[in-house]
């Protein structure tokens, strides 16, 4: 496994745009500022204030909301005195038993498994970073976060619930469960956590220690 050396003469603030490959120097960012590529305007970096503390707080909040969103029923239906309520996992199970294995698997992975993996791995990375214990193992976890991120689709799931409830509203009265509101709040917390996280901290801290 040959590792190409990080060249000693490369300036530390030299970066290549990940979308058009243009070499440029990363500007010094004031808190709250965003850097974009000079040529293709791709997002390069952001400098969110208090990054680690805010991200940690929001992610912990999201983790609690995630538990609520999975323990309580999401939505329910009342029809002629009969009442049906489902949690997320029950909904997946019904699909599975109906012989819709691939679809059930897709929903399980995108709405249930990957969001919790993302939360856990962000916490696994952030807690040691907050305690000042930076280890190279963090990087591996963060690589996993990056590959899991596009597949967590909680916000799409929430919209899907709304659409299905509108479809059903003419034949029965619909009930929004505790988990529905927990999931709505979860989406807000996750979005804010994503915005508050400065990924550069993860890579810059270990390098800063190596420098003489």
């Amino acid at each position: 496994m040959p590792a190409p050396a990080a060249h000693p003469t490369l300036p530390a603030d030299l970066i290549a745009c990940h979308e058009c490959d243009l070499l440029q120097t990363e500007p010094q960012l004031a808190p709250g500022e965003t850097a974009r590529c000079a040529r293709c305007k791709a997002f390069l970096a952001r400098n969110p204030p208090d990054s680690i503390d805010r991200t940690l707080a929001l992610t912990l909040c999201a983790a609690i909301l995630y538990v609520l969103a999975n323990v309580y029923p999401l939505v329910g239906l009342e029809m002629q005195g009969r009442r049906v309520e489902v949690t997320l996992l029950e909904a997946v199970q019904v699909l599975w038993r109906d012989g819709m294995g691939p679809v059930a698997g897709l929903v399980f992975v995108t709405a249930l498994l990957f969001p919790v993996l993302e939360l856990l791995m962000i916490l696994l990375v952030l807690v040691p970073l907050r305690l000042g214990r930076v280890s190279p193992k963090l990087a591996a976890f963060f690589r996993l976060v990056r590959s899991v991120q596009p597949w967590g689709m909680t916000e799409v799931f929430l919209l899907g619930m709304l659409v299905s409830l509108v479809k059903l509203s003419h034949l029965a009265s619909v009930i929004l469960g505790t988990a529905f509101w927990a999931m709505a709040a979860l989406i807000v917390a996750l979005t804010l956590a994503g915005r508050a996280f400065d990924t550069r901290l993860l890579w810059q801290t270990p390098l800063a220690e190596e420098r003489p």
């Binding site: 040959p2 030299l14 990940h18 490959d21 070499l23 929903v107 709405a111 479809k167 890579w203």
Partner: protein
């Protein structure tokens, strides 16, 4: 927002550097064997460009196109009630929403389930074909198109979630039962395949022809 300062049109590839997909670290491309390189900072596999980007993207697009047909023609949802059995495709579901008066939702579902997958496939075909032809036109517009394809793709999953909730809630024995139809599997596959296609496409290939003089091949 601040724009970074750049040396006029010098790319990392021209400078013999490659950047890590994950952490952005730059590293010199060693002479000779350039396979199985790993990032010196985060240990992720490193490539000058995503490996076999164009052919992988083509293969995934083709699979998505094939599955797009059954996804739209077969029933997505089967409703069995006292009044008999009814099969709904994606499009007839949209029509139902429209006729029942919730036209904003009809528009959302139409956009997410019909337009997005179709436009996404067309956009990916255009992007991959133009990169293969080494086009130097509309570089910025094509990069923006790619960003849009990446951003909007996940919303196509909407119909899969709608059917999940409907199936889970409506099983009043003797009154009404909703089941997912075969189109659900095909549609889910289209969404996943187009997302993978967008991921395997390397947007830096759009800009490469600008700096190609003796064009090292990267596909």
């Amino acid at each position: 927002m601040s724009t970074s300062h750049a040396a006029p049109h010098l790319t990392a590839r021209q400078a013999g550097l490659m950047s890590c997909h994950i952490c952005g670290q730059l590293a010199h491309l060693p002479d000779g064997d350039s396979h199985h390189l790993r990032c010196p900072r985060c240990n992720a596999p490193m490539h000058m460009r995503k490996p076999a980007s164009i052919s992988t993207t083509w293969a995934l697009i083709l699979a998505a196109v094939l599955l797009y047909v059954p996804a739209n023609l077969l029933p997505m949802m089967v409703t069995t009630s006292l009044l008999g059995s009814q099969e709904d495709t994606i499009m007839s579901g949209v029509v139902f929403l429209w006729q029942s008066g919730s036209w904003p939702l009809a528009a959302v579902v139409f956009f997410a389930s019909v337009m997005v997958p179709l436009l996404k496939i067309i956009a990916l075909i255009y992007l991959t074909a133009s990169v293969q032809r080494r086009s130097r036109q509309n570089l910025l517009q094509r990069t923006r198109l790619y960003r849009m394809v990446e951003f909007v793709g996940r919303w196509s999953m909407l119909d899969i979630y709608v059917i999940t909730i409907l199936v889970a809630l409506v099983h009043f024995q003797g009154l009404a039962i909703i089941q997912a139809g075969p189109a659900a599997v095909a549609f889910g596959a289209v969404v996943v395949l187009t997302m993978f296609a967008a991921m395997s496409f390397d947007p830096r290939l759009i800009w490469d022809p600008l700096t190609d003089t003796d064009a090292p091949d990267h596909d």
